[in-house]
């Protein structure tokens, strides 16, 4: 690519679009927003095409000392590349999803979304720890407005909860970052990743970062902001939340917690496993009894994210690759599921499951696509989530078969709540007349769901396209973790009485 600062351009395009949208009327703002996101998608494709697999670890680097105290440093590895691709792929879809649903204050709405895109790309591309923090935190402002201004009935409570929860999570991380920079003498993330922090300090640093990423992830028991935020946010807001914002937590673990504090990560593996096991089972069961479609999908997100954390803290290549694949797959699938909910919400203005039923009769195309995404969410082979879940669970199985066992039940429970949802909404008798009268997908909705469906199948059938750019980086991370990785429990498992799962989770301190 020569010296072309493509990452900066990808930040500038939506930023300019956002500023323009503030001054434009509804119609023009929609066009500008769509144009900006499509340009960024094109730039993202160029970025991927030019990414040199097997080349340098950090590519497309930019470094400018414009601020004192931290630098404007950008650069991506394969992991960041994939997450940036996810963001730029979902953004035009979000704009499209809001095309008709948002009718008041369109300019400001589009501006907030474009700003979110800037911040998300920035977070994934930032190579300076403080630049990362600033962009990471800045996302609170547009998201607060998106939920609060354009959200549903109970939007104000949800907006507060989202804002304060995530803020409380991340301020402690800032203190940890300040300490690290003071200790290591650099703000450059690649250097910090190679710096060996003292073991006793790692514990505190890890906990501070964990406080932030666990909330973003979100992990049980700090997940409670998510269902509220999801339910109240407009459809596109939910897509962005589930699709990309939740990935910030996982990305944070991969970029910071694991490589920077490998020993502490290993020490706290039991904590993450324990919380994840509870999350998988508990939130799946909660999802099973939801009457609100969005809430159901929100809880299912928590369960999926728990498998991500288990994969991350398996300390082996399969686990890490699996975690990344779930993040990508879940970003697509949960985004698509929220869109599916949005499609029927736009028609009937309710998310209550019991208000629908028998949609397969009047909306066959919708039913087909919804089925695809339902199956993908369950993790059917041939879809994106299967690859990720299989790898992640295979990874954790090598380390701790009990954790693997409990987490695998999540797949079964996932099938239960998703199929139950699908049956109630799409199959059965048409008891509600207004639901029965709903028209099938419009062209716009085809254009929204079609690309995601294609991507989901691509990722399921040929995951190598997505794994290849990340392979070297994950290998590197695995090497970094190798010394600290916990021993496998395989040799101890044989012949021992099975301890109760929860006790095992709490009691096993390495």
């Amino acid at each position: 690519m020569g010296g072309f600062p493509i990452l900066s351009v990808m930040l500038a395009v939506p930023l300019i679009g956002a500023i323009a949208c503030l001054f434009l009327d509804a119609k023009a703002a929609r066009m500008v927003a769509l144009l900006a996101t499509l340009v960024n998608l094109a730039l993202g494709i160029v970025l991927w095409a030019n990414y040199d697999i097997g080349g340098a670890q950090w590519q497309f680097r930019e470094y400018h000392e414009v601020f004192s105290g931290f630098a404007y440093a950008l650069g991506i590895d394969g992991i960041a590349l994939m997450l940036i691709m996810l963001s730029v792929f979902l953004m035009p879809i979000c704009i499209g999803a809001s095309w008709e649903a948002i009718t008041h204050r369109v300019g400001e709405y589009m501006a907030a979304f474009l700003l979110m895109e800037v911040l998300m790309i920035g977070v994934f591309a930032a190579q300076d720890i403080f630049l990362f923090y600033i962009l990471f935190e800045a996302g609170l402002i547009p998201m607060y407005l998106i939920i609060g201004v354009w959200g549903g009935q109970n939007r104000i409570y949800a907006a507060y909860k989202f804002f304060l929860y995530t803020l409380l999570g991340s301020v402690l991380m800032l203190i940890a970052m300040l300490w690290m920079v003071n200790e290591a003498g650099t703000t450059y993330i690649p250097y910090l990743q190679e710096y060996d922090f003292p073991i006793d300090a790692q514990t505190w640093l890890w906990l501070a970062f964990f406080a932030s990423f666990a909330v973003k992830m979100p992990m049980w028991p700090v997940h409670t902001w998510l269902p509220d935020a999801h339910v109240q946010a407009p459809t596109a807001g939910s897509v962005i939340l589930a699709g990309v914002l939740l990935k910030l937590g996982g990305y944070g673990f991969i970029r910071f917690s694991l490589p920077m504090f490998p020993d502490a990560s290993a020490d706290f593996g039991w904590l993450v496993w324990g919380l994840s096991m509870v999350a998988v089972v508990l939130t799946s069961l909660i999802a099973l009894v939801q009457a609100d479609m969005k809430k159901l999908i929100a809880y299912s997100s928590v369960a999926h994210m728990a498998i991500v954390t288990v994969g991350l803290f398996a300390f082996n290549v399969q686990g890490l690759e699996g975690a990344m694949m779930i993040m990508l797959g879940h970003g697509l699938v949960s985004g698509a599921l929220f869109l599916c909910v949005g499609v029927i919400y736009d028609r009937l203005h309710t998310r209550e499951i019991s208000r629908y039923g028998g949609l397969a009769i009047n909306m066959p195309a919708y039913a087909t696509l919804f089925l695809l995404f339902t199956m993908a969410s369950i993790g059917l082979p041939g879809t994106s989530n299967f690859v990720g879940e299989f790898l992640a669970l295979a990874g954790i199985y090598q380390v701790n078969s009990w954790v693997a066992f409990v987490c695998t039940t999540g797949i079964i429970l996932g099938a239960a709540y998703m199929l139950y949802l699908y049956r109630r909404v799409v199959f059965g008798i048409q008891t509600n007349e207004d639901a029965a009268a709903m028209p099938d997908l419009s062209t716009r909705e085809y254009l929204l769901l079609g690309p995601i469906a294609a991507a989901v199948l691509w990722m399921g059938v040929y995951p190598e396209s997505f794994l290849a750019p990340m392979r070297a980086d994950i290998q590197l991370l695995d090497t970094r973790l190798a010394a600290a990785a916990p021993e496998s429990d395989a040799q101890f498992a044989i012949g021992e009485g099975a301890p109760p799962v929860e006790e095992h989770a709490v009691g096993e301190v390495h």
């Binding site: 403080f130 907006a159 203190i175």
Partner: protein, 487 residues
């Protein structure tokens, strides 16, 4: 040291003193018709003083060359930077006040004179190298401020604010003076350098008492908890331009003064005052945050917000290092801009008849009725809450960085966690403006100077402010380095 050199170092103060006296005569003979002219002349005099203080800041003046009158007075970079902030906010107040007072028919010719004298007092405060010159500056500023608070003679709230300010301020001055006399009794001198020598081997009980009373008196002036009680009442009662003045310039002066006393006179005994400062800092953060939650008056809310911010500034002081002093100055610069911006926004809130509107609930739906004002306030509120990418974040960032570098990690962690409580009421204002249905109370026409000032402040706290980090850090470092004694 001859007197000519000393007087040369006093140039900004001399300009202010002389022009203050001339303006007083003009006001006395010209009556209230001369108010406009007086305001402009006052602003020009302050501008002159600003220009005269500039060189010390840029050059990083420090050392014996900056000592005037045998160490009674110092014109170093630290004082210079504080003076720039003081003069700039005084000019801003002179810019915004006339329109406000004219609207209610209460513009008086003595208003600019009082502002000039208050600024003079503050300049002496920050330059004082001796506890007695400190006291003279403080009283000059305070006496002018008491009158300013009650300048609306016919209004009950204004008179009440003035009286409260006077009674409690006098009490604080008494405490301060008591501390000064104790320090003098046990250290044998009132000069900072002399005190630093006297306490170098540790504090005697008498000196410790002196230090404590001095700090208590100064905590009063900067409205740090637990001496903050006067702040909400005075801020609410005083006319809004005067409140903007109180929240900016005297805060800078008192904080700079506190830093100088702590770091220069008692710099070797940092452990003795650090716990007091930490206590006041954390209490201010928490009380400032909790107190603001229930407020419906924007000015009261901003009063609590200023208490909250003082807490963060004190964290920088608690570090007790050059870095901490530099962080304080950076925070102060950002704080002054955010505060002025917020109060200008309050000034812009007027109902259809032009009467000031001060309720938080009157802001409801402002984003649809007055979008520009709402967006500016949004930027200011998120900035005050310290949410990046707004510039207010950088102020918090540097003070916490200083605390971490001084190994006060627990303080930093508790302080920043408590800042989340504060975020609640800032985002509440945003919620009222953006999420609630419009009430359309704020519809009065507004004045150009106010818009200009608000625009400048909003621009400063926007992410563009980050481009100023390098020069800001530079002057703050020079200023901090010029403080004479820091271990």
């Amino acid at each position: 040291m001859d007197y000519a050199t000393s007087l040369g170092l006093l140039a900004p103060e001399l300009v202010l003193a002389l022009s203050g006296l001339v303006l007083l005569l003009v006001a006395a003979w010209g009556g209230d018709e001369s108010a406009r002219v007086n305001s402009i002349a006052g602003a020009i005099a302050l501008g002159g003083a600003f220009a005269l203080s500039l060189s010390a800041v840029v050059d990083g003046a420090s050392g014996l060359d900056t000592f005037a009158f045998f160490g009674q007075f110092r014109a170093d970079a630290f004082a210079g930077l504080a003076k720039l902030m003081i003069f700039a906010s005084s000019i801003a107040v002179l810019m915004i006040a006339p329109r406000y007072f004219e609207r209610i028919g209460a513009m008086r010719a003595e208003f600019p004179v009082l502002v000039v004298f208050a600024a003079l007092g503050m300049a002496i405060m920050v330059s004082a190298g001796d506890l007695l010159s400190l006291y003279i500056g403080l009283e000059l500023n305070s006496l002018a401020a008491y009158v300013l608070a009650s300048i609306l003679r016919d209004e009950e709230r204004s008179a009440e604010a003035g009286l409260k300010y006077f009674v409690l301020g006098a009490l604080a001055s008494g405490i301060l003076l008591f501390g000064i006399s104790l320090t003098y009794g046990f250290a044998g001198t009132t000069n900072y350098t002399g005190i630093a020598v006297a306490v170098a081997d540790g504090l005697s009980t008498g000196q410790l008492f002196g230090l404590t009373f001095v700090l208590a008196g100064l905590a009063f002036k900067i409205s740090a908890a637990p001496f903050h009680m006067w702040t909400p009442d005075v801020y609410e009662g005083a006319p809004t331009p005067v409140t903007a003045f109180f929240a900016s310039a005297p805060k800078v002066a008192a904080i700079a003064l506190l830093a100088r006393v702590s770091l220069e006179a008692f710099g070797t005994q940092a452990d003795a005052w650090r716990q007091i400062v930490i206590f006041a800092a954390l209490l201010s953060i928490v009380i400032g945050a909790l107190g603001a939650i229930g407020q419906d008056n924007v000015k009261r809310l901003l009063a609590y917000s200023s208490i909250n911010n003082v807490g963060f500034i004190l964290i920088g002081l608690a570090a007790g290092t050059v870095g901490g002093a530099s962080a304080m100055m950076v925070y102060l610069v950002i704080y002054v801009v955010m505060t002025l911006g917020s109060f200008v926004a309050v000034l812009l809130m007027r109902d259809a008849e032009g009467r000031p509107v001060e309720g938080v609930s009157d802001l409801a739906g402002l984003s649809t009725t007055r979008p520009v004002l709402a967006w500016c306030l949004l930027a200011l509120m998120f900035s005050l809450a310290g949410i990046p990418p707004l510039f207010g974040f950088w102020g918090k960032f540097v003070v916490f960085q200083a605390a971490v570098q001084a190994d006060l990690i627990a303080l930093a962690a508790i302080g920043i966690a408590a800042s989340v409580i504060g975020a609640f009421y800032y985002i509440k204002i945003v919620k009222v403006m953006f999420f609630d249905d419009p009430v359309d109370t704020v519809k009065g026409e507004s004045d150009v100077p106010h818009w200009v000032l608000l625009g400048l402040c909003a621009l400063f706290v926007s992410p563009l402010g980050y481009l100023l980090i390098a020069p800001l850090d530079n002057v703050a470092d020079l200023a901090a380095a010029s403080l004479a004694v820091i271990p």
